[in-house]
Symmetry: C2
């Protein structure tokens, strides 16, 4: 197959077999996209017989896709290392391979996050000078108006140092420019307070590094994130994951209690019905499906992770994220930003100095204990 | 003043000057408590003139309190170390001193958390063998029924090791037995996944230590906490704070959007009014005021932290927590549990061994980097 850049159409590789609702939701999403845009072509990886059936059922234009039959599926229970070693013929692996071989400009998968990250890192490699790739996603915010913020790391790096966290910020800004359409997105570090003295060594050292950037606004607390205080919020993957699951859990609980109140009796049901459009209008922006599609950022190729329980609306969004990132050459922008960082005195050389100092401090602290 | 234990009444020391709504909410709370119980006496620390005015205005029985005039107030902006050194005549410090001098069985303050913790540690000291005191509070949960869980550390220890975290679990169980009234509360570690391999060194080592306890249920994820998967959830103060602020932020956002939908037009306002009691019923358990009152656990004396923005309902709850903990001799129970831990082969000796091993592993990892 020819290079996707030479072709008039953009080609997106799809892992059609991963996720709770695959392959049905995947095919429905592809159908939606093809109705909107005729300059996108899909390379669909999965069980050919089942895919052909569904594509026919949904009447997807034959010009819009090519199916590549694959032999296995990476399960959520598979260990990433084993998936990498033993499932080279899986829909996920083949979709990633297609990005390596320039058969596709990006790939999308709703599969096992650990396996996706490890496979993407091993197959595609990291962008030059990127210490750690991360998972960057979109969060809904409500400040003076409804908005969005880029949040990373969502869980790829259980722990990381200040260099990695500062790089997340740089990469997050590239992502935010494309996805939020902002010229100069602001950066905040997730922390337990907004004063400079707050947080762990990690937050304080990252603060020092990022404070050289004019779009750095300092620390943001948990509740600030949702109020859109910063466009890009960086934290390690452990805190990021705790943050996400806590807010998702609380939001879901509130919504389920509201629904439960509406189902109290016939009167409340009628009121609920009358109010439904107003509730929907006010809560629509919180729908996680509308913000689905996280980028494995720092990988040398565009890989988008869709939520494991994605339905067609969620998967459609993940594809749109992939298309958007590919059209805007996100990785070229990241390479450029990382290159700048290497050439400017204030940045990587400073990073290195601070890292050396911090290693010494940590060494002293360790021996004190 | 005589020893509170010798007196028929239980004496509770109150920092009446700290918090956004002090001293008004404090006096209102004292009024509420005195209407419910006549076996509690308050030692109220603060600006005597103002307090007398308010106590008269609210017609609080003169038998229920003694006022001790204090000269200064610890502000939220005060650095803990400076508050400790320079504000020995503050309402907060004097309330803590009264616990040291056995003039009160417990004290309650809505003041600066850092200053309260530092002052309590320095004045009262830690319970023997307790490595780090923590902040333990109550969270509402909704599993099959509405319930509560004990969560710690809420933010006292930005970082801590597996020994401290395991001790949080032991102390949290004592707290849960009293506040939740459960015979054998279950323990969970906050983590990014439920499999044994998940999390950082901290979670994995704490898992090893706690797995010797029969009420340990393993890891709980962010969204599991609110579903009541464990009675006691332990984590370091950084993750704990991120968790709390993320869930509070998300819950508040959902509620404000619901309210905003109800205010859309006259029809929605009428429906909202009709549905109000049902919404209230379903959401009441989430009201943070109803679960207000966190214990500085591991301190050699009962110190309860009320939220800085407490109103009278919230402060009343904080006083109730203090009374409950004092009546049930929580610290004697903690001392007993810590003593057991020291005498059993499976526990502290194991703790020490694992700590040594982990120090070695960390040393190797550090030199690898």
């Amino acid at each position: 197959m020819e290079n996707p850049k030479a072709s008039a159409k953009m080609r997106i590789a799809i892992d059609a077999m991963s996720g709770t609702n695959a392959p049905l939701c995947v095919i429905q999403a592809i159908k939606t996209i093809t109705l909107d845009a005729n300059d996108i072509e899909f390379l669909i990886y999965g069980d050919e017989i089942r895919l052909i059936q569904l594509l026919k059922e949904y009447n997807v234009s034959e010009n819009a896709y090519k199916i590549v039959n694959t032999q296995s599926i990476i399960l959520d229970t598979d260990k990433p290392t084993e998936a990498l070693r033993n499932k080279k013929d899986s829909s996920m692996r083949c979709a990633i391979d297609s990005v390596l071989n320039h058969e596709a400009s990006a790939c999308v998968s709703a599969g096992n996050t650990g396996a996706l990250m490890l496979t993407a890192r091993m197959v595609l490699g990291s962008i030059q000078n990127v210490k750690r790739p991360a998972i960057a996603g979109v969060l809904p915010t409500l400040g003076s108006t409804i908005g969005k913020a880029i949040f990373l790391d969502m869980g790829a790096n259980i722990s990381c140092d200040e260099i990695a966290l500062s790089q997340f910020a740089i990469m997050g800004v590239c992502f935010a420019k494309i996805l939020l359409g902002k010229d100069n997105p602001t950066i905040g570090i997730l922390n337990v307070g907004s004063e400079e003295s707050k947080g762990r060594d990690l937050e304080q050292k990252t603060y020092t590094l990022l404070s050289t950037l004019d779009n750095f606004i300092g620390y943001v607390e948990g509740h600030d994130v949702i109020h859109g205080k910063a466009d890009v919020i960086v934290t390690d993957g452990f805190s990021g994951n705790i943050f996400l699951k806590a807010s998702e859990g609380a939001a879901k609980l509130c919504l389920s209690q509201f629904k439960s109140a509406i189902y109290s009796n016939i009167l409340t049901k009628i009121c609920g019905l009358l109010m439904k459009p107003f509730f929907q209008k006010k809560l629509e922006f919180l729908d996680p499906r509308k913000n689905n599609g996280a980028m494995l950022i720092g990988i040398n190729g565009i890989v988008v992770k869709s939520h494991g329980s994605s339905d067609d609306i969620a998967f459609t969004n993940a594809i749109r994220v992939a298309v958007n990132l590919a059209r805007n050459n996100v990785n070229e922008k990241i390479v450029e930003e990382m290159r700048k960082l290497n050439h400017e005195d204030e940045s990587l050389s400073l990073f290195t100095k601070i890292k050396e100092t911090s290693a010494k401090i940590l060494g002293i602290k360790k021996s004190d204990e």
